[in-house]
Amino acid sequence: MTVSSPRDAADTMLAPPASWLGKVKPDHLVYVASIIGMILLWHVVATTFFKPQFFPGPLLVLATGEEMVASGELFEHVSISLERILAGFLIGSAIAAPAGLVMGSVPIVRAIFDPYAQFFRFVPSLAWLTPVVIWFGIGETSKVLIIVYTTVFIVLINTMVGVSHIAENKLRAAACLGATPFKSFLHVTLPATLPFILTGMRLAMGNSFATVVAAEMIAADSGLGFLIFNSRLWMATDKIFIGIVCLGALGLITDRFFRYLVIRFAHQYGPIE
């Protein structure tokens, strides 16, 4: 591990450099043991008490998974779902974070838009599915819009909470150090709110997964939601399990990746857990 920047220097100060083996903590061993134990339990329960169609064991699921990977079917479903999630999530965040910052900082803007934000955040995105499909067709636009809708309110509310949590002293300090209201917004409000925006984005990512599956079940012919829902017609529980495993794994990976980006590039703005 080489020290290349002050930020890295800060990291190394908190955690002393260690060899690769030294980095394996007892916690990690417990994680691995726990996962292996659960798979074994799954295998034993599935093969002892159930028929494969009822409750497929890990070996059957693995075999089906291999087939689906080889045929390219799995990759197609995974990539289309992921595309929808990422597009909707990024567009939604790009709209909601600036909107939340402005709403949190400017009382009149807040007064105008807050009633709508408070009203629509209780309307689940799936309630909009039919009108959205009528208006925007059955294509990708509708699915992405549904994810955007899911993302917007979570990020918006979190951002507004973040703005209201800024220590008054910070804004006062900036003011007496010569910051105009706009500069104070740019140099204090924005960076001070960033941890809340990122937390909102992280939550929204989770909700985007739930939403895309539901949307694909109702109005799609591809994606993991479609895979899970369509497999029910053939009683293909093994495929349903593949869909479930993929969703969990994708969610975990994207969340870890997001967390890594935050720690790597934005850790000084505040901790993320």
């Binding site: 100060m13 006062r172 900036a174 007496c176 150090l177 000084q268 505040g270």
Partner: protein, 260 residues
């Protein structure tokens, strides 16, 4: 040299806005003070007597309900870089900026290029004995170091007056003692006017040219002003220190700010 009127508060009162039609009592009533340029003025009073409100009015964070505040003859309206504040709480630091960028913040607002403002910030970090800590974030600093950063940050913008709101109140006794000494040293080097709020009598005697004792709130105002003519550097054991402490303590215990 004739002492010149510098910061002047005339007949200042402050009352928070009414809630549900009920008007709260005035925090300050007829507060008056006249500060001289370059002096070290301590505002001393019990908790809740409105010391911080006085400072907020001087800083321009709050407008007075009645009365006027002027600095060099100019009325104070809103915050300004001629009056910078050192807050008691370290939550006033910008946690996402390195020490050097916290100190350079005011210069950045003024539009100075990075190199220039960093070299100035480095000077002030040296003045508060924080050289070598430039690249640390506030979360990596101790409480005493954070307050040093705050002091360097306000000095870097070269204000006319430093407003300090119990800046050492949250520190342990040893750190506080060291920072008190350093602050006097900085004050002598920079010739700044300092308004320093405290409820600690000994701290006021150690630091101040004059101590203004506030009366008990609500509706508090400045009672007596006590000039401290003990020679510097001061120590708690100095002759005259104990007597002065007793005298001020008696005034505060008398609860009327010595006006009867």
């Amino acid at each position: 040299m004739v002492a010149q009127d510098f910061l002047v508060a005339r007949d200042v009162s402050y009352r928070y806005a009414a809630r549900r039609g009920v008007q709260p009592p005035e925090v300050l009533s007829n507060f008056e003070v006249t500060l001289t340029e370059g002096e070290f003025f301590c505002l001393l009073g019990p908790s809740g007597c409105g010391k911080t409100t006085v400072l907020n009015l001087m800083a321009g964070f709050l407008p007075p309900t009645r009365g006027t505040l002027t600095l060099g003859g100019q009325p104070i309206v809103g915050p300004g870089i001629d009056r910078t504040v050192v807050f008691q709480s370290d939550d006033a630091l910008f946690t996402w900026l390195r020490t050097i960028d916290n100190v350079a913040f005011g210069l950045r607002m003024r539009g100075l290029p990075a190199e220039r403002r960093h070299s100035i910030a480095r000077e002030y970090l040296r003045l508060v004995h924080l050289d070598g800590q430039e690249n640390k974030y506030p979360s990596e600093l101790s409480g005493g170091m954070k307050q040093r950063v705050q002091i360097a940050r306000v000095l870097a913008t070269d204000p006319k007056i430093l407003l300090m709101d119990e800046p050492f109140g949250a520190l342990d006794a040893q750190t506080r003692g060291r920072l008190q000494d350093e602050l006097v040293e900085i004050w002598r080097k920079t010739n700044k006017t300092i308004v320093f709020i405290t409820h600690d009598i000994a701290e006021a005697i150690l630091l101040a040219d004059r101590i203004g004792v506030m009366t008990k709130g609500p509706g508090s105002r400045l009672g007596v002003i006590i000039p401290v003519d003990l020679p510097r550097p001061r120590r708690r054991g100095n002759p005259g220190f104990g007597e002065m402490w007793e005298r001020i303590n008696a005034i505060i215990e008398h609860e009327d700010g010595g006006e009867s």
